[in-house]
């Protein structure tokens, strides 16, 4: 297996972006990487989109998480407690110089409004676009707006230069790649040649094919929609130059050697092909792939007794044994070839509900750590 140690990644990158499908434990892992970075003395921010209630609570994100919640002192006291409770502490953390730990939970909707305010030439345009029903649907449901705003937020936080390390936990999505496609999807929206058609005055010279197409569109959708559409397009047109400049800055950042991507996955038969697909797409985008973090592994429970002591446990043991066998196979599938593995984390016996629990994950990020 080709290992790439998480500490090596933390040394090399200022920003780590974690991707993965829902339910793989991205948020927990992102928080744990952040804790590890903070324990190594870094001023750290973890940007997370949708944490579990109890994890959010333990990160101090119960309400209004849009502003950074500094929980460094909680980390310090929780670390003391975990030490006292007998958690094995590797040498490098025996006398940790704790940097800083901020958790941030961006609110996509309000960020979009602020973002627009920054871009628009006048307050009047902002008001006009905000009251347009197309815009309202756009911010609510455009399946790239959330993702894009997370990137915007990342860039804004990074440009403050207050952090040595930023972990971005990407929004939950159907597949790990939806997130990567968001900037391109949005930039399509700002395609100048096409928006121009919508903002041209009605009496100007328009190709007859275009006229026909627009009249069919109007017949299908009704006049109300067309009016809103023209209005929306003219606003988009007004902000496009600054938007595209912003987008370019964000894309430059993502491609830079400061940023690394980690894929979080669970050990199932589908993992290996998903990982390969993910790496392909990352490479196409010129993004840096730093490794796969396999989460929720049960292999640390080995060896499972061949037969259970009580018949009540017969079936659970069978299932557990089958799961561990499947995991071994999946791991060898993922680890074959040159794909680097950056972590193999244990399935915990309960949901992470405190900073102390996070330490176990943060320590286990080191493959040599004895659980």
């Amino acid at each position: 297996m080709n290992w790439r140690h998480i500490d090596e990644i933390l040394d090399e990158r200022r920003i780590i972006i974690t991707c993965g499908t829902g339910g793989v434990g991205k948020t927990t892992l992102s928080a744990a990487i952040g804790v590890r970075a903070a324990l190594q003395g870094r001023r750290t921010a973890v940007i997370t989109i949708d944490p579990a209630k109890r994890l959010a609570t333990s990160l101090g994100l119960e309400e209004l998480g849009d502003r950074p919640a500094n929980i460094t002192s909680e980390i310090v006291s929780a670390f003391r407690k975990a030490k006292a409770a007998g958690m094995t502490i590797p040498d490098q953390f025996k006398e940790p110089k704790i940097g800083r730990f901020d958790a941030i939970m961006p609110d996509a909707r309000s960020n979009f409004r602020d973002f627009l305010r920054d871009l628009a030439p006048s307050a009047e345009i902002v008001e006009r676009v905000m009251s347009n029903p197309i815009f309202q649907i756009f911010t609510k449901e455009f399946s790239g707006a959330n993702e894009y705003m997370a990137l915007e937020r990342l860039q804004a936080i990074d440009s403050m230069r207050e952090y040595d390390c930023i972990i971005l936990d990407t929004p939950p999505s159907r597949n790990a790649l939806a997130f990567l496609a968001a900037p391109k999807l949005l930039s399509q929206f700002f395609d100048e040649r096409l928006i121009r058609w919508l903002v041209l005055p009605a009496n100007s010279l328009v190709a007859s094919g275009m006229k026909k197409a627009l009249s069919i569109l109007e017949r299908l959708t009704g006049t109300g929609f067309m009016t809103n559409l023209f209005d929306f397009a003219s606003t988009v047109f007004a902000v496009r130059v600054r938007f595209l400049a912003n987008l370019e800055k964000t894309m430059d950042l993502l491609e830079s050697p400061d940023v690394g991507f980690i894929m979080v996955a669970t050990p199932t038969p589908e993992t290996a092909p998903e990982v390969r697909h993910f790496i392909d797409i990352l490479t196409k985008h010129h993004f840096n792939f730093d490794g796969v973090a396999v989460n929720r592994t049960l292999g640390y429970l080995d060896p499972v007794p061949a037969s259970a002591k009580s018949p009540k446990h017969q079936r659970p043991y069978e299932v557990l044994t089958a799961l561990i066998a499947r995991e071994k196979k999946a791991l060898s599938g993922v680890g074959s070839g040159s794909t680097p593995l950056c972590a193999k984390l244990p399935e915990l016996a309960r949901d992470v509900h405190s900073v102390e629990d996070l330490f176990y994950v943060a320590m286990a990020l080191d493959p040599d750590y004895r659980l």
Partner: protein, 307 residues
């Protein structure tokens, strides 16, 4: 998901009742097994002799738009927004030269791709249209937020497009999806904190959209032994009271897992939500058996009387 929404009073439907409907939408958090379970449902329906279509949306690993036969009465469709849009436009304009002008137009192509909500509208429109060609349709919706957005877009479009055929179609779609005589909504979860919680939020949103059509609840991958240990569990067994989040051994892990799943399920049980349950099935070894997870699930659905 929007945060801090007040919890609504829950009304729910039973799983077998939901699965009798013509259109069944399976929703839930990512990773809970929507694909395997919805395929299991479709297979069981097809086994019962019903012409059944299983639908997923924009799976990048499958050919877009293709309908594939998976059994004598079972078909799979990987619904593609682009193809569905073209199909819908041809249906409305006719397949003559006008439709060609429309679909080849750069601006129309741009709007079809970039306009918010159009994808969702035409994807659900395709499902709605296909319902006349099959006895049953089982839909594998995208995870929570995106799945919900599909219904919300359709509703928004019925408001946005005043007059015109798109408006009327969107209205009819919403009516069909909200009508318990035609459609059922099944919310799937795992016995874990997040999926169970998200299921509750999702049911609230669905109820706002479809007040007449309460969803059913199903928990997937319940570990064996969980039901049996439920009664013997004491207050001292609270997962929060364990000194570490790790398990010491396989035996310790199993015992803790059973306690944890019962503990998590209190989220639903305390609210008196009736729910179905599917056992944890580790995927069969493909080198030894041809059976897939959805085959195993379809047998279980039948055995438990859900279908």
């Amino acid at each position: 998901m929007t945060k801090g929404r007040p919890e609504p009073a829950l009304t729910t439907a039973q799983v077998p009742e939901i699965l009798r409907r013509k259109l069944v939408f399976v929703s839930g958090k990512g990773g809970v097994g929507k694909t395997a379970v919805s395929q299991g449902i479709a297979r069981a329906l097809a086994d019962a002799g019903l012409r059944t279509l299983w639908v997923c949306f924009e799976d990048p690993l499958q050919e877009p738009g293709a309908i594939r036969q998976h059994g004598p009465k079972l078909w799979y469709l990987n619904c593609s927004a682009e193809l569905a849009f073209n199909e819908y436009a041809s249906l409305k304009i006719g397949s003559g030269p006008l439709s060609k002008i429309f679909l080849k137009n750069k601006l129309v192509q741009y709007l079809a791709k970039a306009a918010p909500g159009i994808h969702e509208l035409v994807l659900l429109g395709k499902v709605w249209y296909e319902r006349t060609h099959y006895d049953r349709i089982v839909v594998d919706l995208p995870s929570t937020g995106h799945g919900l957005a599909m219904f919300q877009s359709t509703k928004n479009f019925s408001v946005l497009f005043t007059g015109g055929p798109v408006h009327r179609d969107a209205e009819s779609m919403i009516e069909t999806f909200g009508n318990p005589a035609e459609s059922g909504h099944l919310i799937l979860a795992l016995p874990e904190e997040m999926p169970l919680q998200e299921a509750l939020e999702l049911s609230g949103f669905l109820q706002d959209l479809f007040p007449e059509n309460p969803p059913g609840f199903l928990v997937n991958r319940l570990f064996p032994g969980v039901e049996q240990t439920r009664q013997s569990q004491s207050e001292a067994d609270q997962p929060d009271s364990w000194p570490t989040p790790l398990a010491k051994s396989a035996a310790d892990y199993l015992q803790k897992r059973m306690i944890l799943e019962n503990y998590n399920l209190r989220l639903w049980r305390d609210r008196k939500i009736p729910f179905g349950a599917l056992d944890f099935v580790p995927p069969p070894d493909p080198s030894r058996s041809k059976e897939s997870v959805s085959d195993v699930l379809s047998e279980e659905l039948k055995r438990k009387g859900y279908l």
